[in-house]
């Protein structure tokens, strides 16, 4: 199972966030977040709703434009270029090229309902990476087999269960051969009995060494799969550490209060 581009032999973390701020109207959602994620790591972002987890995740591929701060993926500034000591927003085409290397899975799947499963997976590789149809379809068939949906290639998304749709969405993201995968509450919209099949696919990805940032409420998954867990509250990362430390012996009062409610 090879989905990842060769590792770049760099010492620096794959993802570096520095002082990320974001405000919606008068509400400051992110208040200067710093975060590092190493290549091959799985970072789970946990915290109460409204704490800024999803917004932070969306800043990483510039779906949300930070008001201040730097996002670096693979050492490259995302969405901006630094000139004369100031950050200038990149033209849209450059931002899109950066996004193409970062896969994203949404809470509500966001599959394209008018396209078959196969077309959902091959469209971006063909249009963005310039793959031939045969090459894109070969990759798509491999990926769909990996997520256990080989028999569903010609189905339309609406005819699939939520768990199946989310697995297609993961395959769609992987088809772009990303070096980083972002998951925004990937199991929150699923019926309880369908959560497991999606987490299984994500577990497999983690085992293959994919770098992943996962916003989740699945503490079991975080404990088992995450290399790091970061707890967010009121727009800041309050505490971060390996799951066996953070989830078992949280140091911060707010982490303790949150975990006592969800564990």
């Amino acid at each position: 199972m090879v989905v990842r581009q060769p590792l770049t032999p760099t010492e620096q973390p794959l993802v570096q966030l520095r002082g990320i701020r974001k405000r919606f109207g008068s509400h400051e959602v992110l208040r200067g977040v710093d975060l590092d994620v190493d290549t091959g790591q799985v970072l789970c972002l946990v915290g109460a709703s409204g704490s800024g987890k999803s917004t932070l995740l969306r800043c990483i591929n510039h779906l949300e434009r930070p008001d201040a701060g730097r996002v670096l993926v693979g050492g490259e500034l995302v969405g901006y270029v630094e000139r004369d000591g100031r950050l200038h927003e990149l033209p849209e085409s450059r931002i899109r090229a950066q996004r193409a290397g970062i896969g994203m899975v949404f809470q509500h799947f966001n599959l394209f309902p008018h396209l078959t499963v196969l077309e959902n997976v091959v469209t971006a590789p063909m249009r963005v990476l310039g793959y031939s149809r045969s090459a894109a379809e070969a990759t798509a068939h491999d990926l769909l087999a990996r997520v256990g949906l080989a028999p569903k290639v010609d189905a339309y998304p609406r005819s699939l269960s939520g768990g199946q749709q989310q697995r297609v969405a993961i395959a769609r993201g992987l088809a772009m051969r990303p070096r980083l995968m972002l998951f925004d509450e990937p199991t929150s919209a699923l019926d309880p009995e369908l959560v497991g099949e999606v987490l299984d696919v994500m577990r497999g990805l983690a085992a293959d060494g994919m770098t992943m940032i996962v916003v989740t409420h699945e503490m079991g998954f975080a404990r088992e799969v995450a290399s790091q867990v970061a707890f967010m509250s009121e727009g800041l990362i309050v505490e971060q550490g390996p799951p066996q430390d953070l989830l078992v012996a949280p140091r911060h009062e707010r982490t303790r209060a949150f975990l006592s409610k969800v564990l």
Binding site: R99, N110, H114, A124, V128, R158
Partner: protein
């Protein structure tokens, strides 16, 4: 509360649910049949309809010429209006204030004035602008012509109908685009698809699906109100009929001929609409099977009450 003894053996058939009776459905059926019979009786036995005269004019060359003109006007205007309407919709949704404003003013102007007036103005454009020329502003002229040679009844009719219709279609297409979930654009963005690809491959096909029914309404409306071009002496279907009965006084039968042809064309347009809806609706049908045949059992469903 009824308590069934656990060991009661009962006839299994007694647990099959009997569908609810729907007596009003039968009353409605009887009333409808009576009304249809009465109307049909009047049509067939009342001599004032003059069906023999209808038959003689049904394929009259003047009527068929008028029908052809109506069809040409409708198709050409609808095609031009769709293209312009799409452009207007995109402009109204753009981030730029200038295109947004320009499209808004266009729609305000063309939707806000009677199409009849617009037609007359286009036809009499020469009064306002005696000659038209294309060239570099304040530079050499590349093309120049008298307005009267360009504006024939036909071009005036197309201009009037298409430019007016574009304003309506623009709003319909815009509402279709707005109805597409924002998550679709986000997913396309996250994949790195270009703006053009995102619009053309992801948003537009889903927008057109909800646009088809109101746009078909517009097409049918356009087919019929294209008869207003008679004010600029263009003989389309209705005007051709009027020219005939103005001489023969066979008003009712000739108008029946005209109505028959409108109905024929509207029927064809409706079939086209159903076909388009089915094509663009692929993947959207409710119920699990994406391949369920939506045509089968439309009436059966009505009768069984499973709407």
């Amino acid at each position: 509360m009824t308590v069934l003894p656990a060991n009661t053996t009962r006839d299994e058939d007694s647990d099959v649910v009997v569908p609810r009776r729907r007596p009003w459905r039968w009353v409605g059926t009887v009333v409808s049949v009576l009304i249809v019979a009465a109307v049909a009786n009047s049509f067939l036995t009342n001599p004032n309809y003059q069906w023999d005269v209808v038959a003689t004019y049904l394929f009259d060359p003047r009527i068929l010429d008028g029908l052809l003109t109506t069809l040409q006007l409708t198709v050409v205007s609808m095609v031009l209006a769709s293209a312009l309407g799409l452009l207007l919709a995109v402009m109204r949704l753009s981030r730029g204030r200038l295109p947004r404003g320009a499209a808004g003013v266009y729609i305000w102007l063309f939707r806000g004035t009677p199409v009849l007036v617009q037609l007359i103005l286009w036809y009499n454009l020469a009064i306002l602008v005696p000659s038209v020329s294309i060239g570099i502003p304040f530079g050499p002229t590349l093309f120049s012509a008298q307005t009267n040679t360009i504006i024939t009844p036909w071009t005036a009719a197309i201009l009037g109908l298409a430019l007016n219709e574009a304003a309506y279609l623009g709003e319909i297409i815009r509402s279709g685009i707005v109805s597409v979930d924002r998550g679709q654009t986000e997913a396309a963005n996250a994949l790195g698809l270009s703006r053009v690809d995102t619009f053309r491959r992801i948003v537009l096909p889903q927008a057109l699906r909800v646009t088809v029914p109101p746009a078909s309404n517009e097409a049918i409306g356009l087919l019929k109100y294209s008869s207003v071009v008679s004010v600029i002496a263009l003989p389309e279907l209705l005007y051709s009929g009027q020219l005939i009965y103005a001489r023969t006084y066979e008003t009712i039968p000739v108008l029946l001929v005209v109505c028959i042809w409108y109905l024929v064309v509207v029927t064809l347009l409706t079939l086209l609409e159903h076909w388009l809806e089915r094509r663009l609706g692929v993947g959207f049908r409710t119920g699990a099977g994406g391949d369920a045949n939506p045509r089968k059992g439309r009436w059966a469903r009505w009768w069984s009450g499973n709407h």
